[in-house]
């Protein structure tokens, strides 16, 4: 999904007054927050399942998954449906990511993405590809595969 200038489009969204983004090639669709059915005994960050055009998809609370402590009153309003490894049945994963509000699509050159370190970031650094300075605002670029990963976030280097 690179255009001629080498930039890749990302979908940015708000969580707890901060901007985050997913690579748009992983995004299937953005929908209003659907009714979510809780599943007993599932991991904390999975809020339940929802009906996505006849398909049952899990809803991942990105805030929970990234261990972001929420201090705003803003309610979640949207779900970004993500999908990875479409062609590989074993690795294929699809789920909805619950976010507060979708912002817009921004083009980012890979070279402009700066790695982050645990000590200077608010979130688990292993879940992010890096940060990007978007007109003075920091956008944290999340690693879709790690957000969708089945196990609770694992430290760097211990991925299976």
């Amino acid at each position: 999904m690179e255009n001629f200038s080498g930039a890749t489009p990302y979908l940015s969204f708000w969580l707890n007054d901060k901007l985050y983004a997913f690579n748009i090639s992983d995004v299937v669709e953005v929908t209003d927050l659907p009714k979510i059915t809780a599943i007993p005994q599932s991991p904390q960050y999975i809020k339940g399942v929802f009906n996505f055009r006849g398909e049952i998809l899990p809803a991942i609370d990105v805030m929970d998954k990234c261990h972001i402590i929420c201090n705003t009153d803003e309610a979640d309003s949207a779900v970004i449906v993500l999908e990875i490894n479409r062609d590989d049945a074993d690795q294929h994963l699809t789920a909805g990511a619950i976010v507060e509000r979708v912002s817009d699509v921004i083009s980012i050159k890979p070279i402009d993405i700066v790695p982050i370190h645990n000590f200077d970031s608010q979130i688990d650094a292993s879940l992010a590809e890096g940060v990007y300075n978007h007109d003075g605002k920091i956008v944290t670029i999340l690693d879709t595969a790690k957000i969708l990963a089945l196990e609770p976030a694992s430290p760097i280097g211990q991925d299976k």
Binding site: I39, P40, Q41, F50, N51, G54, P58, A95, L150
Partner: protein, 705 residues
């Protein structure tokens, strides 16, 4: 245009040949039991012959050569009314494998394989072979190889009617219509009628034209069938008479009349005409028939001698029947079936939506329509489901072959007995069963059945038996594989488990629990590892497979008596009739087949029950789903207990409310909930919300721990 269609054509050819080979494999295995069975000898001969013909058409020279030579063997056996030796049957099975290989993944080294194989065929064929005919044949066989080289002695003439009504897509399939018509014309004297469908039938999904042909030929029926090999579903062949009707002027007049009319010929009428023309009382009519077409001196008696023709009619009828049964099925891409199932599921959901509207706005008319739609959708659903159901028989051939090959390799004598193979299961389940069942059967042969010497020591018959049984029970299908071999020694399992650290020496396990240990990953009990089994991944993988199909597997064994493996499977994976209930905000579905009864109960009774109530005079355990599943919320004063069957008894599940019945189209909850132990899936309700399907067995088992 020509290139891709030829490609498609070849693809179809390969599929057809593979199908034929599968059938033939079955015939060979039967021949091993009954070496002189004429039906099977003929079948092998026919298959070889047909493959030879079509292979020549598509320039598969090697395949043509192989089938030609093998056909030679069978033609000799048939002519001599002999029997098929073990050597020949083994060779034929190898031929099946070789052909499959050549068609599926031909590779560079094949020539050597083929030459080696052909040399062995030649060795068998060698002996008292009429060599000139057999060996030189392929050279002068470039006419297309369609025709029998060693035709059975002249057959009598017969007149046939053929209706060839191609499907609309015939042009895209690259079928050469002209070639088919030419094929008919080559058979003998003929009249072909070219017709188009009348306007009121124009939309019948057929090609806009169809053909009718009447021809007289002395060629065997198989040869006629070969012309229509690729359009067999679109052709109807009917025998009109056992004589050449074209020799009769009255008949020709009748044909002219048909030519003028634009409607389809009524074959019954045609037969009646033929009967009329060939009444035995008018021998002068038939006399010219025999002499006009057949150079040989025919007996002067009319060809329509009753007993003879009746017998022949029977044979033809059998052929037609055989080709009918073969043609009554069509091959459908399984993706199309999945799509159909999805559509039906969506339809069932939409139907529920309709009911909601009807009730919400209280429209009686809509309600009536809903009921009709409901009936139709139920039929549609059953129908769509039944399409997916395949008899388990389709797996048997593979297993028979496996048992045969393996037992030979291991020098054991094993009989494979099957029962209930007409039991039907969802295609997806059947497809996924092959691997685990193969494993189980392998284990039985490798570890179960003892060597002949050992069996004699134990005073068992030389032949070990592996019995495969399938049967229905409720909404489940049970499959059992039983052998009369050595069995598993629970003590040995126990030692092994302790040694490997799966259990402690102090643990007390029942035999059943000990047998369950073999399903643990890494628990291999094989005392020696053979190439066939005993790598310690076996039974673990088997259980994984079965669990993916929502099935259960269990083993039971008795030392020196044998082992029995039982697999319990759901009939289908897609739709379950369920009771829709709610607990707090959560909607749950409980499969109807597992429900015994529902009773009202007051909340305070539940609270003071200590997990047990008296139901129908018996103390029955109850589980409060609200607390067990941490649903929260305030329970209503009146609750419902849904009594569900659990093992041999009942367990009550306390819920808030029963909402009605629902045909749950089961959907997987996905990988995120694979560790989830209480639910077997989810289902989308008419209003778009999701209800969770309870797996009561697992739920109760887990909560009672």
């Amino acid at each position: 245009m020509q290139q891709p269609s030829l490609q498609q054509f070849k693809q179809k050819y390969v599929e057809e040949v593979i199908d034929m080979l599968n059938d033939m494999e079955g015939a060979i295995l039967t021949l091993e039991q009954n070496p002189s069975s004429l039906d099977e000898i003929n079948q092998v001969f026919r298959v070889m012959h047909t493959i030879k013909g079509t292979s020549a058409m598509y320039d598969f020279k090697t395949v043509e050569k192989i089938t030609h030579d093998v056909e030679g063997i069978y033609s000799k056996i048939r002519d001599a009314q002999g029997s098929v030796s073990k050597e020949v049957s083994t060779l034929t099975l190898e031929c099946v494998d070789l052909l499959r290989h050549l068609l599926n993944q031909p590779s560079a080294g094949d020539d050597a394989l083929v030459d080696e194989f052909l040399a062995r065929v030649a060795a068998i064929n060698g002996g008292g072979n009429p060599p000139a005919q057999q060996q030189s044949a392929p050279a002068d066989d470039d006419s297309g190889g369609m025709f029998l080289l060693n035709d059975p002695p002249q057959q009598n003439f017969a007149t046939y009617y053929v209706l060839f009504a191609p499907e609309a897509d015939i042009a895209n399939r690259g079928v050469n219509i002209k070639g088919i018509l030419d094929g008919i014309k080559e058979l003998g004297e003929n009249t072909v009628f070219e017709r188009s469908w009348p306007d009121d039938k124009a939309d019948n999904g057929k090609f806009y034209m169809y053909w009718e042909a009447i021809f007289a030929t002395d060629k065997p029926f198989d040869e006629i069938n070969e012309i229509f090999l690729f359009v067999s579903d679109e052709v109807k062949i009917d025998k009109i008479a056992d004589a050449n009707l074209f020799a009769n002027d009255d008949f020709k007049e009748q044909l002219a009349a048909y030519q003028l009319s634009d409607t389809q010929i009524d074959t019954d009428e045609l037969k009646a005409v033929a009967m009329l023309l060939f009444k035995p009382s008018e021998p002068q009519n038939t006399a010219p028939v025999a002499s006009s077409q057949q150079p040989k001196t025919e007996p002067a008696t009319p060809p329509k001698v009753e007993p003879n023709s009746e017998a022949e009619q029977k044979i033809i009828a059998k052929h037609i029947e055989a080709s009918d049964t073969k043609n009554s099925g069509i091959k459908v891409d399984s993706e199309k079936l999945d799509e159909l199932m999805n559509l039906v599921s969506e339809f069932v959901n939409t139907k529920a939506e309709m009911l909601l509207i009807a009730e919400k706005y209280d429209i009686p008319e809509l309600h009536d329509i809903y009921e009709k739609v409901d009936k139709l959708s139920n039929k549609l659903k059953d129908n769509a489901l039944s399409i997916r159901l395949v008899p388990i028989e389709s797996l048997m051939l593979r297993f028979q072959r496996l048992v045969r090959d393996l037992s030979r390799e291991l020098g054991k004598q094993v009989d494979f007995v099957t029962e209930g193979t007409d039991t039907e299961l969802d295609k997806t389940i059947i497809d996924n069963l092959a691997v685990p069942l193969m494993h189980i059967i392998r284990n039985s042969i490798d570890h179960g059945i003892e060597s002949v010497e050992r069996r004699r020591e134990l005073k068992k018959p030389d032949h070990g038996i592996i019995k495969f049984t399938a049967f229905y029970s409720g909404n489940n299908v049970f499959i059992q594989v039983q052998d009369d071999g050595a069995g598993m020694n629970p003590e040995y399992l126990r030692e092994k488990a302790i040694e490997k650290g799966f259990i402690k020496a102090t643990d007390h396990l029942t035999n059943r629990q000990l047998y369950d240990l073999v399903f643990l990953p890494g628990f291999s009990t094989a005392q020696k590892i053979t190439g066939i089994s005993g790598r310690g991944v076996g039974m673990d993988a088997v259980r994984q497979h079965i669990m993916k199909l929502r099935g259960e597997i269990e083993m039971d064994s008795e030392v020196d008596l044998g082992t029995i493996t039982t697999i319990k499977l759901p009939l289908t994976l897609s739709i379950v009739d369920a009771l829709l209930v709610s607990v707090a905000d959560t909607q749950l579905l409980i499969p109807v087949y597992i429900i015994d009864s529902c009773i009202n109960i007051r909340r305070d009774v539940v609270d003071q029950s200590h997990g047990r109530i008296i139901h129908e005079g018996e103390p029955t355990p109850i589980l409060d789903l609200r607390t067990s599943l941490n649903m929260g919320g305030t329970p209503p004063d009146d609750c419902i207990v849904v009594m569900v069957k659990y093992k041999d008894s009942r367990v009550g599940l306390v819920i808030d409310k029963v909402r009605g019945e629902h045909q749950a189209v089961l959907k997987s909850l996905g990988k995120y909930f694979s560790k989830q132990e209480y639910l077997s899936g989810g289902s989308i309700l008419g209003d778009g919300s999701i209800a969770l399907v309870l797996d009561t067995n697992k739920l109760i088992r887990n909560l009672q721990k």
